[in-house]
C-alpha cells in the first residue's frame, strides 16, 4: 500500500508538470507573437509593450508554477506518505 502511494505520487507529479506546462506554453507563445506584431507595427511603443508583456508573461507563467508546486508537494512534502 505504501509503495503504491509513492508510485502514484511520482506519476501524479510527472503528469502535473507535463500537462500543466502545455497551456501556459501555448498562451505565452500567443502573447509573445502578439507583442512582436505590435512592436513590428509600432517600433516606438517597445517600452510600454515589453513591460506589459513581462507582467503578462509572469501572470501566465504562474499557472505552470502552480503545477510545479503541486509536483514538489507530491514528491517532497506529501502528507499521505509518512
Amino acid at each position: 500500500m505504501e509503495s503504491n502511494l509513492q508510485v502514484w505520487s511520482i506519476i501524479g507529479a510527472a503528469v502535473a508538470v507535463s500537462f500543466g506546462a502545455i497551456g501556459p506554453a501555448l498562451a505565452e507563445g500567443r502573447a509573445i507573437a502578439a507583442a512582436m506584431d505590435g512592436i513590428a507595427r509600432q517600433p516606438e511603443s517597445v517600452g510600454p509593450l515589453s513591460r506589459t508583456l513581462f507582467v503578462g508573461l509572469a501572470m501566465i507563467e504562474t499557472m505552470a508554477i502552480y503545477c510545479l508546486v503541486i509536483a514538489l508537494l507530491l514528491l517532497y512534502a506529501n502528507p499521505f506518505i509518512g
Partner: protein, 223 residues
C-alpha cells in the same frame, strides 16, 4: 533520501534559534549593500566620483521605471521598490559565487518579501486615498464582487511568492540534476541561463509590486 528543496538547511544555532543558510546569505547581501552604499555616498558631492555616478544612474533608472508604471512622482515609493529590486538582483545572482545558494530558492525569503509587498500596498493605498476611499475600492465595480476582490488580494500575494520561489528553486534543481548526470562542462550554459532568469525574476517581482501599489493608490493624479 536526501532532504528536499522545501526543507531548510540549518547551519548553526544562535541560542535556541536555528539559523539556516538563506538567512546567513541574506545577512551577507545586506552587509554588502549597506557597505557599498555607505562607501559610495560617504563623501557625496555634486560632481561625484565614478562609484557615486554609478549609484546615481541606478537610482535614476529605477525612478524612471517606477514613474512610467505608476504615473506620478516615484520618490515616496523608490526606497521600498528600489531596495527590493537591488536586493533581489543580488540574491538571485548570488549563485554565481561558488559555495553560495540564492536565498530566494527557499520559500521563506520570497514569502517574507511577498508579505512586505502585501502590507505596503495597503499602507501606500491608505496614505494616498484615505481609509474609507481605499476600502471602497474593494466594492468596485460592483459590491457583489467583494469576495472575489478579497480573494484576489490573497492569491496574488501567494502567486508573487510562489513565482519567485518556483523559478529560483526549480533552476537550482535543474542545475543539480544536470551536474549529477553530465558532470563538468554541460551545466555551464544552464548556469548562464540562470543569470538571465535571476535578473528577469527580480524585474518581474519589482514590476508586479509596483503595479500592485499603483492599483492601490489609484491611477494617476486625476482621481
Amino acid at each position: 533520501m536526501a532532504a528536499g528543496p522545501l526543507a531548510p538547511e540549518i547551519l548553526f544555532h544562535l541560542g535556541p534559534v536555528p539559523i539556516s543558510r538563506p538567512v546567513v546569505t541574506t545577512w551577507g547581501i545586506m552587509a554588502v549593500l549597506v557597505v557599498g552604499a555607505w562607501l559610495g555616498l560617504r563623501r557625496a558631492r555634486v560632481h561625484g566620483g565614478t562609484f557615486q555616478t554609478v549609484l546615481e544612474i541606478v537610482v535614476e533608472a529605477l525612478a524612471t521605471q517606477i514613474r512610467d508604471v505608476i504615473q506620478r512622482e516615484p520618490w515616496p515609493y523608490l526606497p521600498l521598490l528600489g531596495t527590493l529590486f537591488i536586493f533581489l538582483v543580488f540574491a538571485n545572482l548570488s549563485a554565481i559565487v561558488p559555495g553560495m545558494k540564492p536565498p530566494t530558492g527557499h520559500i521563506e525569503t520570497p514569502a517574507v518579501l511577498a508579505v512586505i509587498v502585501f502590507l505596503s500596498v495597503h499602507y501606500f493605498g491608505v496614505r494616498a486615498r484615505g481609509l474609507l476611499a481605499y476600502l471602497r475600492r474593494y466594492t468596485r465595480p460592483n459590491p457583489l464582487l467583494l469576495p472575489l476582490n478579497l480573494l484576489s488580494e490573497i492569491t496574488r500575494t501567494f502567486s508573487l511568492m510562489v513565482r519567485l520561489f518556483g523559478n529560483m528553486m526549480s533552476h537550482e534543481l535543474v542545475i543539480a540534476i544536470v551536474a549529477y548526470m553530465a558532470g563538468l562542462l554541460l551545466p555551464i550554459p544552464f548556469m548562464a541561463l540562470g543569470i538571465l532568469i535571476g535578473l528577469i525574476q527580480a524585474y518581474i517581482f519589482t514590476v508586479l509590486a509596483t503595479v500592485f501599489i499603483a492599483a492601490g493608490i489609484g491611477g494617476g493624479e486625476s482621481e
